[in-house]
Amino acid sequence: MKPKVMEINTKTNEIIVREMNDEEFAQYEIDQAAWEAEQVEEPTND
């Protein structure tokens, strides 16, 4: 299941929670991979 996006319309106070679209999910996966790659290169104290 894809992560969600929360949109708050500040004029109407309507809140929409939807699944990421393909473009958003692609960026999500790029960020996730980049972060994991950095952690391999620079181990943390976790």
């Binding site: 992560p3 969600k4 996006v5 929360m6 949109e7 708050i8 319309n9 500040t10 004029k11 109407t12 106070n13 809140i15 929670v17 990421m20 958003e24 999500y28 996966e29 960020d31 996730q32 991979a33 980049a34 972060w35 994991e36 620079e42 943390t44 104290n45 976790d46």
Partner: protein
Amino acid sequence: MGISVFPAPAAGAPSDNWVTVSTVSPTSGTSSVSFTSLSGYKKYMLKIIDPEFSANGLAYVTINSDSGSKYSWASPGQTTTAISRPIFAIESTRFQVHSTVSGGSLRQVLIIQSADTTGAKVVSGWAQYNDASNTVSNTNINGVYFGSAAVTSIQLTLSGITFGVGGSLTLYGAA
């Protein structure tokens, strides 16, 4: 040597009157929160109080969902025992506003100036976060968004992780 004479301040614009535009608690499993349909304010202030995160990672802010290379910023102190990110960027596609630490806590304020103009927007902010071992770190960010439209939306997006339960995001505006 003559006496300096300073002009009296002109009666004019009142001080900023910050009002709450919207406040929300991120839904668990959400990776991005967007405040939309913004208008009528010269400045915005986003206050982030103690959200939970699914894992360690990074968080970004964009304006008007603009992913162009229009974000120039420096953040010299994004450091914890778990995450070290003393960085800057000249032509980034987003502001990296802080690190996220699973099991820790985060408090941050980010201010966007000149929001009602079509010119550049100066952005500044600061944050305090604790890692899971309760080690406190502080950071700040200063930058410019070289957009060409008034601010109509602001996005806070996590990097490949999601929000947990709790915390709040509050957006203020000053007309």
